[in-house]
């Protein structure tokens, strides 16, 4: 019995150390960060009407282009910060086989349009409405801003979680053009709708 207890004691002590080492290895990581299962997979298709209405735009229309899909909303601070960068990058890559698509997330189209009127738009980009968040769900959006990069064959090759900037966006597109797969990068926090 004593021997049994002794083993119990030492055993628990050892298990405690092992457990603690495992816990320690998680320091500095973000427990909420999820690796997107879409990387390397065909991008979920969408067929969405622009914010102001009209004929729907579908992902298939852009096969052969590099497509950058960004989810945004006016209530998202980081989205506002990155908006100018997205617009300028869309303009810069306008005739180079790169299409930027911005999709409104959890927001009524009139609200998004009002925001875009002040924040600016790129003539080369598309601004679409996502009723029922079906596309956001298909892309596994946890919060915004999230930006997905789809290569010419329609495979998701990159994802930026958090606020991006022109250099990151442009460099990622450059990398895809060279045939690389940038993967997932976290640049900052994402937001949920304030009344969630």
């Amino acid at each position: 019995m004593n021997r049994g207890l002794r083993w119990v004691g030492y055993g628990v002590a050892l298990a405690a150390v092992a457990f603690a080492v495992v816990l320690a290895s998680r320091f500095g990581t973000d427990p909420g960060l999820v690796d997107s299962p879409l990387l390397g997979e065909p991008a979920p298709g969408f067929d969405l009407a622009p914010l102001e209405g009209g004929d729907p735009v579908s992902l298939a229309d852009f096969r052969g282009d590099i497509v950058v899909v960004n989810f945004f909303a006016s209530w998202c601070l980081e989205c506002r910060n990155e908006h100018a960068d997205i617009t300028s990058t869309a303009d810069a890559f306008a005739d180079r086989g790169v299409t930027f698509v911005q999709i409104g997330y959890q927001e009524s189209p009139p609200a998004s349009l009002e925001y875009l009127d002040t924040a600016g738009r790129s003539d080369a980009a598309f601004y679409l409405a996502d009723p029922g968040s079906r596309t956001a769900i298909a892309y596994g959006v946890f919060g915004i801003p999230e930006t997905f990069f789809i290569d010419e064959e329609g495979t998701v090759v990159g994802k930026i979680i958090g606020e991006s900037d022109a250099l990151t966006l442009g460099a990622t597109v450059d990398a895809i053009m060279r045939g690389e797969t940038p993967g997932q990068e976290v640049t900052g926090d994402t937001q949920q709708r304030p009344d969630s």
Partner: protein, 335 residues
């Protein structure tokens, strides 16, 4: 009534009541809402730990609407769950599947119960020798045994903490918006640089990037793309002197080389010289324009002499400057 009969009646009564109760419960109409059941298995991605069935957030309700639609379309439970997992990964499953990595979670409780029961039964069978009162010398033991104990425990603690720091997965969030000043721009395309510049027009350090991009265009011979950037740098109040000078020189030379506008070129080169009087490049180029453009050979020669009088001029530069000077003095037309 005898005790036995009473017991018998009691047992019978208990049995009957229990049976009726179980039957009542088991046959009760349970409205199993498939949509709710599926929803209860999926975690709402924008909330803390709630299922999409429970969460009031808009995203959860949208996801429930999707589930609802798929149920009505005839999809089976697993297919619907798999569809959501394909988008979000297994991290949104609230109920770990009974397979693979999470099989442990299903087995461990059972193992724990079995272990506990086993230990108790074993202890029952192998009791310790009868009470031996603590026959240990109280005075001696604590001191001898405790110190190494504490050292042992303390060192474990240190090891753990150290291990934690070294094993840290340092994939924390990257820095925010790119710092224009310190980026390695070799891999970056012109379009990207255009985008960055356009997005950061008010940034105090954007001129460096403009200049870099403009130089690229210039070297490619794409003067029309280079022009606006050089112009912006030349007019910028944030540009450093060397930057402004470079821009003006380039502008001047492009005006002459590209459009043959000698007057404009001279004006720009003079501006450059007014900022940096010692700029040999400006002098040289101005001399070229004067010689080839406005045919003011004398002024051109004088400028070239000023260039040659610089003591820190490189040999090959000195060579062609001298050659040009000779050509001018010889009255040759410019080549």
């Amino acid at each position: 009534m005898s005790e036995r009969l009473r017991n018998l009646i009691t047992v019978a009564l208990l049995a009957i009541m229990a049976t009726v109760l179980v039957l009542l419960v088991v046959t009760s109409p349970s409205e199993s809402d498939r949509v709710e059941a599926i929803g209860a298995r999926i975690k709402c991605p924008v909330c803390q730990g709630e299922s999409i069935a429970d969460s009031p957030s808009q995203m959860a309700r949208d996801m429930m609407a999707l589930v609802s639609e798929r149920v009505e379309a005839g999809a089976d439970d697993e297919a619907i769950v798999d569809q959501l997992l394909a988008s979000y990964s297994g991290a949104v499953l609230l109920d770990p599947p009974a397979s693979g990595a999470t099989l442990v979670l299903w087995l461990a409780p059972l193992a724990a119960v079995a272990l506990g029961a086993g230990v108790i039964l074993w202890w029952r069978r192998h009791p310790s020798p009868e009470d031996s009162p603590a026959s240990v010398d109280v005075g001696q033991t604590p001191a001898r045994r405790l110190a190494p104990l504490l050292i042992l425990a303390g060192s474990f603690a240190v090891i753990v903490v150290a291990a934690g720091f070294f094993l840290q997965d340092r994939d924390g969030p990257a820095s925010g918006v790119a710092d224009l000043a310190g980026q390695d721009l070799d891999d970056v395309s012109n379009d990207t640089m255009e985008a960055v510049i356009a997005a950061n027009e008010d940034h105090p350090e954007v001129d460096g990037m403009r200049l870099a991009l403009a130089e690229r265009y210039y070297e490619e011979g794409d003067f029309s793309s280079a022009f606006p950037h050089y112009l912006a740098v030349a007019e910028s109040s944030n540009a450093t002197q060397p930057q402004a000078v470079t821009a003006l020189i380039r502008l001047g030379w492009m005006a002459w080389q590209g459009n043959g506008e000698a007057e404009t070129a001279l004006d720009l080169l003079d501006q450059a010289l007014s900022i940096d009087a010692g700029s040999e490049t400006a002098r040289y180029l101005k001399a070229q324009v004067l010689w080839c453009g406005t045919a003011e050979d004398g002024e051109a020669a004088r400028l070239l002499e000023e260039v040659l009088s610089q003591s820190d001029l490189e040999e090959d530069v000195r060579a062609f400057v001298s050659a040009d000077l000779e050509a001018i003095r010889a009255g040759e037309a410019c080549a």
